[in-house]
Amino acid sequence: MRIPTVRRISQIFFLVLFLWFCIVSSLGEKWWQLRGWPVNWLLQLDPLIALGTMLTTRALYAGLLWAMATVVLTILLGRFFCGWICPFGSLHHFVGFLGGRGKSLREKITVNQYHRGQSIKYYLLIFLLTAAAGSLIAHLIRISLDTPVIPWILIIAGLAIISVLAILKLISNSLKAVAIFLSLVGVWIGLGFFLPLDRVVTTSLQTGLIDPIALVHRSVNLVLLPMVASGVHKLSPVQRYYEGAWLIGAIFLVTVFLNLRTPRFYCRFICPLGALLGVLGRFALWRIGKTRSECANCRLCDADCEGACQPSGEIRIGECVLCMNCRSSCEEGLVGYRMSPSASGEITGPNISRRGFVVTLLSGAVAIPTLRLTGKVGPNWDPRVIRPPGALAEGEFLARCLRCGQCMRICPTNIIQPAGMEGGLEGFWTPILNFRIGTSGCQLNCIACGQICPSAAIRPISLDEKLGRNEYASAGPIVLGIAFVDRGRCLPWAMDRPCIVCQENCPTSPKAIFTRENFSTVRGGVLRVKKADSLRVEFEGDPLQLGRFATGDYYCKVATDADDRRRRIVDNTANTMTIAPTRPWKKPPPPKSFIQIQVRLQLPYVDPKLCIGCGICEHECPVRVKRAIRVTPENESRDRERSLILPAADRTR
């Protein structure tokens, strides 16, 4: 079998595997639904995710260790991941192949020629990694302050090395060397001393915006599957909605259709993972190359080159995705995959300028601190940023979230939504809860989002921890926010209409929503009595609408008699009213006296000590367009600084 055929089988296998993992990321009882399928495996194989989270958190979370396999193989073999595994790459490869059909050899050579713009991906990589490395750099600078012995050791060691070098006559001007060395150490200590590092140097992981694996998961989870699933009802019984899906879909379509113009456009120009793998593979033991410099110069190898790495001439190793097309298309068999470099020479490093490198580095370093000036992580905290249960405090959360959309796909009630600008640009496409869009609020007995999150931005909590049971009893339940009744919109509060759907649906025990009974005299509800007996009153005129006060919620009271107790109305005609037989009037209201008709209202209140912010009340509120009870992330338990309610004296939350 020819190698490109093997490659195609591998690509199809991983593409199908990827789609399968996306489909099975769904809660349910069916055999194909989430039952230990390693649905995060492709995300875990992605070294950019591993490296990014390592820089931001100085740790490698659980399954992300898989990325080591990719790294090791890339160091040995080159960018095999791009050409053989990456599902996004395979999609581009296929669409690029369709676009190339019917094109002449010359046209193919032109579109598959190396382009200067292919350096853009390296700059993007540098930018994103520097943005992620902020706190690590800050930590390194701060070492001089935190452990003062280190600079001293460094100075002594440095001076010793300089003296040795001077004695060996390896440096001529030892005084100059000492001066440069000491000033560098001085700058280092000075930076740590003068810069308020904790405030200036912050970090967040932005690689997920364009990381191909995160991007393709997001696109399939939030756009393709919801569209297909509405037709194939086995996949999902109800339509799933994702706010801002249009943008995710548009980006996906544009990146896919760009292949018709330039094959593997995304891989060549944008993909930061490709850039990282290109750098890792520069010392690869095996590499593509010509065995003899002179050839017929037919350029068949250049025509089908996926990476645009110019195999016919000086090959660019960092751009080669190991598609192996050149090897099989060379009619003279001059292209090989072997230990020795190409006979026509090779370029191993990325094509980036020193100036561009420094500019990108500095931009990356200031990007996050600049974004933080919007204050969205601090005082300008947005009421719409309600994070899923188990989410870390905002800063740590942003240091881990990949925007892969796995939590949004798995959420059984479809309330986890990709954020727009709610959390600032830094939080774009990160998961926030929207209780209006889905099929309910956050379900009491569900912890799926934390279990699936590949980077522990949402921690894998247990049900006990979520609900504050057993060993977590003293810590209390996880609180997402507090519901607030909007008394200007609430039916009983604002419009004298009974409702309390929110109270009924409140899932905690005891309920966080409770009611206070209130009797309020209805509009035009003071009526003059014509005559009355112990159960029935006749009024002057025809003041009533038939049956209006017969709902069981209306009561009457003799206005002139302060001691008269309320009696429930059971029926009314246009001019008569009947009260419940269980409590007749001993002394019927006299003619010409006034009767007040009152509606019994149960007014909802929220007990902030019990409310966990699950949003079921907000979801169920019959006032639909803007709910009359709404959850805001007030008092959320993921950040102590956001607590609102003082703990009870005998129990700390």
């Binding site: 809660l27 349910g28 009882e29 009802h233 019984p237 109800v238 339509q239 059984p412 009630t413 099929t439 309910s440 379900q443 009491l444 007995n445 569900c446 039916l491 209409r497 009974p498 409702c499 309390i500 759907v501 109270q503 009924e504 649906n505 409140c506 899932p507 905690t508 025990s509 005891p510 309920k511 009611t515 017969a550 709902t551 069981g552 919620d553 429930r568 059971v570 419940a580 037989p581 269980t582 149960q602 079921i616 169920e620 509120c621 019959p622 639909r624």
Partner: protein
């Protein structure tokens, strides 16, 4: 330009003109859309009761639901009286919340499985279990154990889907008009049994057999809370079941209808089977320590001829499983 070219072009232009003109004439609408038009045809549920068997009720005390429901049906003449060979039975459960069966916020799965098993034993050709829950439907049916219980005895669970709802208007009703009803599961059904637990309900006073039909409504049904008693009355008018089974083995005394804690429950060890849903609810009220006067919807339902509020009048058969 040759004559031939001229003629060809004239013919093409003429054809295009004719096509545009006829298309616009065909689609021409001088009045604009008619807002009252609604493509959906109104549906109503047929009467599922069995003639001559109205006003029958049995009340059996005992701790074990399987034992009490068996006994309750037996003293009424056996399930065979209600379910005949070849019948297609729909069991309307209360699966409103995604909570475990232990919390008694939903229909007990063992009770459901036993009723479904008895239906098959009596010769039913199919048993469908359905509800339009409040929480996420799939989670509700699986966490409550209802889905597994139904499937274990060969019943079919139908989760609500958008296409399952058809608008209904309850005859003589003022509230449930042109309202989406979970209609598709009733296709080919000729017997309906409601199975509901006895629960506290802050707005209406109690959620029992009649309130259980609320789970057949779709749309923005929460607005019905503004007039809950008349709504429950109209629900009872909407469904005339073959039987209702009101499970008072464990009663949710407080924090209803969601519950959420064992502290909200009390063992009341009573199973009520009735062809009269009003009488069943009137008796169920006593388990909650409430009177019929405290639950206005019971008298309202009686006044509209659905059943009898004074359950002693229909001489319920009392028994005990010891």
């Amino acid at each position: 330009m040759s004559r031939r070219e001229f003629l060809l072009r004239t013919i093409k232009a003429g054809a295009s003109l004719a096509a545009t003109c006829s298309l616009s004439y065909w689609l021409y609408d001088s009045t604009g859309p008619d807002p009252s038009q609604n493509g959906d045809v109104l549906v109503t549920l047929p009467d599922f009761s069995i003639p001559g068997l109205d006003g029958k009720m049995s009340i059996v005390t005992g701790q074990d639901r399987v034992g009490t429901v068996d006994r309750a049906l037996k003293v009424m003449g056996g399930i065979e009286l209600f379910v005949k060979r070849g019948d297609r039975v729909l069991l309307k459960v209360n699966a409103a919340f995604a909570t475990p069966p232990m919390l008694s916020a939903t229909t007990n799965p063992q009770l459901l499985a036993e009723v479904a098993r008895l239906c098959f034993k009596a010769g039913a050709s199919s048993v469908v279990v359905t509800d339009n829950p409040i929480n996420d439907p799939a989670s509700c049916f699986s966490l409550t154990g209802i889905a597994q219980a139904a499937e274990s005895v060969g019943g079919r669970v139908l989760l609500p889907k958008e296409g399952f709802f058809k608008p209904t208007t309850v005859p003589d009703a003022t509230l449930i008009m042109k309202w989406p009803l979970l209609y598709a599961p009733f296709k080919d059904i000729n017997k309906v049994i409601g199975i509901a637990p006895v629960k506290d309900h802050h707005r209406s006073g109690a959620s029992m057999a009649m309130k259980n039909w609320y789970g057949l409504l779709g749309g923005r049904r929460n607005i019905f809370h503004q007039d809950i008693h008349n709504t429950i009355k109209e629900l009872a008018m909407m469904v005339t079941p073959t039987l209702v089974i009101l499970d008072g083995t464990t009663t949710m005394m407080t924090n209803g209808p969601t519950g959420g804690s064992l502290a909200d429950l009390r063992q009341t060890n009573t199973m009520i089977v009735s062809t009269d849903q009003v009488a069943a609810d009137a008796f169920g009220a006593t388990l909650l320590g409430k009177t019929v006067a405290q639950l206005p919807y019971i008298s309202k339902a009686e006044a509209s001829g659905v059943g009898t509020a004074d359950y002693e009048l229909i001489n319920p058969i009392r028994a005990s499983t010891g």
